[in-house]
Point group: C2
Chain length 112, copies 2
């Protein structure tokens, strides 16, 4: 498995798209080791916290994430606080994780 | 009590600044009725969710909130999702609500 998640494209996702399997998730997480699977409201999500020296730097990063979201037409939850941005990816249509989310997580890391 | 919270200035806040009293909070919340006090990690915060028609509009509003935060040098948690922005004000230094937070909440409403 090469570290190529960030090179892949996020594809249109429908309610009948398959959730990622536990095995594939386990395998792909090795490429994005700073991301943590979290379960909220019974939905599996992928989350990472990025730290910054001040608000302006965190804000600038949050805007890059928003640009990525619009480019991919896949939209995470982005929490901006002083010196910190928390990004959470999941796929609303399937109430869980699709491979798209791991691709977008890898692309988020590339924005740093 | 006039509806003048938004006209007041957020002032520098230190660890020994007083938390807002329950009575003052109750009184001032009448000026910002869409804001809800929430307690998280034992800290009283003030939160409001704003809905938008799409991501771009929500994103634009989140940026206005960030500009306000820098102008006031008081920084909320701003959660950007598709069509939704959730803003949470509290004062880190006193682990609770200062009158500043209500002033900033009123100013956030003015950004709409």
């Amino acid at each position: 498995m090469e570290n190529n998640l960030a090179k892949q494209q996020c594809e249109a996702c429908h309610a009948d798209a398959p959730k990622i399997s536990d095995e594939e998730l386990h395998q792909l997480l090795k490429e994005i080791p700073d991301w943590t699977p979290v379960v909220r409201d019974n939905i599996m999500m992928l989350e990472r916290e990025y730290k910054f020296k001040n608000y302006k730097l965190a804000w600038a990063f949050a805007n890059k994430v928003a640009e990525l979201a619009e480019d991919e037409f896949h939209h995470p939850a982005t929490l901006l606080e002083w010196g910190k941005v928390t990004v959470t990816w999941w796929t609303h249509a399937i109430k869980g994780l699709h491979k798209n989310d791991l691709i977008c997580a890898a692309k988020t890391d590339k924005l740093l």
